[in-house]
């Protein structure tokens, strides 16, 4: 057993998992308040990384002379803001007219929104992958032995942890968070208690989309290339992560994301040893999804929801 290699794979898996976790949070929060899978969430993630690319260009004169971490933070916050706005606009235009319609109707609309975003991006930015600029100076730090961690990976892990703490604070300690939890628990009762459901739903979309934008920028930082269709697969894998953690459960989504990232990286790294080519990488998440739904459909931390007639 090559321990250094294992350590390396764990570091890589963890940083990929952090990205999945950030996307999964958006799925799970929207599912919590609206009970539907926002198929377009993966595309918001894609828009987030393009926003990062363009904000980096536009804000260059403004960020002149700033230290790199600050200008990177400016780009990150600007993209998160832009995507939060995008999320709210999508919700208002496409999903709000469909409140109380069948779930299928909303799901089909979400697929439509997802295609619209991906193909509009293709029209605007071209289909070819674009290089992503280096936002912070990247150094490789040895972990002892062969294993290394890059500063970018550390930043991704650190900022993700920060965002998770901030999210936990918002959901647990603020009035808006209380309203979100109330809505998720019982929409009718919440609105009878004076919760402004429309505002809470908009806020949830804004929050989820901002996190997806952060994930988009981190993904672009680690993989250095972005394209209009980059959102589809990570989006679906993050959804699997949300289901793994128990959809609707915020801690579960973060946990599921990290697990999916780790499992996917480890399978890719070691599957050749047992005779499976690494090309099966993209199938890992789906196989996991099917296994979860067969054996524990509520996910790791989810609670059973009884269907009322």
């Amino acid at each position: 057993m090559d321990w250094a290699n294992l350590a390396q794979q764990l570091v890589n898996g963890l940083s990929l998992g952090a990205i999945y976790a950030l996307i999964a949070l958006g799925y799970t929060m929207v599912y919590g308040v609206l009970r539907f899978i926002n198929f377009a969430h993966g595309e918001v993630f894609m828009v987030g990384s393009f926003a990062g690319l363009y904000f980096h260009r536009w804000l260059k004169p403004f960020c002149e002379g700033m230290p790199a971490p600050i200008s990177a933070a400016v780009v990150l916050l600007a993209s998160m803001g832009a995507c939060a706005l995008l999320g709210v606009v999508i919700e208002k235009l496409a999903y709000k007219p469909l409140r109380n319609r069948s779930r299928l109707t909303v799901l089909i609309t979400a697929i439509g929104v997802s295609l619209l975003l991906a193909y509009s991006a293709q029209l605007l930015f071209g289909a070819a992958p674009k290089g992503f600029p280096q936002l912070i100076e990247n150094q490789t730090i040895s972990l002892g032995g062969e294993a290394t961690v890059t500063t970018e990976q550390l930043v991704v892990l650190g900022v993700t942890a920060l965002l998770l703490v901030a999210l936990r604070f918002i959901v647990q300690k603020t009035r808006m968070g209380l309203a979100m939890r109330a809505l998720s628990n019982n929409p009718t009762a919440a609105s009878l208690m004076g919760v402004n459901t429309d505002r809470v739903i908009s806020f949830t979309f804004a929050l989820g989309s901002a996190l997806a934008a952060a994930a988009g920028i981190f993904f672009a930082m680690l993989y250095q290339a972005i394209d209009p269709f980059m959102g589809t697969l990570p989006g679906i894998k993050a959804f699997v992560a949300a289901v793994l953690g128990g959809i609707g459960n915020i801690t579960g989504a973060a946990l599921g994301g990290v697990l999916i990232g780790l499992v996917e990286t480890l399978v890719t790294a070691y599957s050749q040893n047992i005779g499976i080519p690494s090309g099966y990488r993209d199938a890992v998440a789906f196989v996991l999804l099917i296994l979860i739904l067969l054996f524990k459909p509520t996910g790791l931390l989810g609670k059973t929801e009884r269907e009322k007639v």
Binding site: F36, A94, T109
Partner: protein, 314 residues
């Protein structure tokens, strides 16, 4: 008289397919190609409509079953074509039919494997699982060298013609129409309209869902075989998620649960695809906007429900 109507229509349809085949030498190749593609899309859309429309199980993996059928039938004809090369036309036609059926059966086997575990889920979960299975089928093909891997499979004999395509389409529509008007059809519709109520009335919902799924997969597989023997080259990329979405758009545009509407939508969208060929990059944007607007303004579909009144939603 009414009892014999479906059979008369089947015979008329098959005769129509034969006539279409015999006039095809008069048409130019481009027109024939489009007509064949329209036929294939009709099969795909009508079979997905059985699952999505009549049974109400939203599947996003139709392209996966199409791929299974396309590869199974192509492997069969590639292996056996040299044997019938001397035997002449009838043997070749027999082989083609057998290969198409083999492709269909293989796809329905895949449908059974997918259906049994996943059809216990409902709504949005099922959509994601079927999407996942479609992708798994694609990834498996991509990593199997015997199937050409990512490079694809080439040199498939060009045996698809108007008769086989529209003949299959007619049989497909006939089968689905008979099925929907039978006891099974009542079961499908009961499952769609209210699963819990259906279950409490003693309907084995999983059984009906699996039946619809397997039959849908069978015809998707046949359509895949026809497609492979039309294009003569297949690659896993051609059967990705977007192909499934194409078929979903046809079903939704036509109106879920309305066979005439879905058939019309399949033909319309095939033609539209050809007309919009010069505006390729706008095509999907138009489709996406169409989906969103349709769901907001007219969820029963553009052409659907002209034979029945829209029912009130609770």
């Amino acid at each position: 008289m009414k009892r014999y109507l479906p059979h008369t229509l089947l015979a008329a349809g098959l005769a129509g397919a034969a006539i279409l085949h015999f006039v095809s030498p008069q048409l130019d190749d481009y027109a024939v190609n489009i007509l064949v593609l329209a036929g294939i899309n009709v099969i795909l859309a009508a079979s997905l409509n059985l699952v999505n429309g009549h049974t109400g199980q939203f599947s996003l993996g139709h392209a996966g079953f199409m791929a299974a059928g396309a590869y199974a039938s192509s492997i069969a004809t590639l292996a056996l074509a040299p044997l019938v090369a001397q035997a002449g036309q009838p043997a070749q036609h027999a082989l083609f039919l057998a290969a198409l059926l083999f492709g269909g059966l293989f796809a329905s086997l895949c449908g059974l494997l997918v259906g049994i575990p996943s059809l216990r889920l409902r709504g949005d979960y099922l959509a994601i699982v079927t999407l996942g299975f479609g992708e798994i089928i694609r990834v498996v093909i991509q990593n199997t060298n015997a199937l050409g891997g990512a490079r694809g499979l080439e040199g498939i004999p060009a045996w698809t013609n108007l008769f086989w395509t529209w003949g299959t389409a007619v049989v497909c529509i006939y089968t689905i129409a008979c099925l929907v008007n039978s006891t099974y059809g009542r079961g499908f519709i009961a499952v769609r309209d209210d699963e819990i109520a259906a279950e409490s009335m003693g309907i084995n919902t999983t059984k009906y869902k699996v039946i619809a799924f397997v039959i849908g997969a069978f015809f998707a597989g046949m359509a895949g075989g026809l497609y492979a023997h039309l294009i003569t080259f297949i690659a896993p990329e051609g059967f990705n998620f977007l192909k499934s979405v194409d078929v979903v758009v046809m079903v939704i545009l036509g109106g879920m649960g309305s066979t005439p509407g879905v058939v019309a939508a399949a033909i319309l969208l095939t033609l539209l695809n050809e007309l919009l060929r010069d505006f390729e990059q706008y095509r999907m944007i138009v489709f996406a906007l169409l989906l969103i607007l349709l769901m907001i303004l007219r969820p029963q579909g553009l052409l659907g429900n002209f034979h029945k009144r829209p029912k009130a939603k609770p």
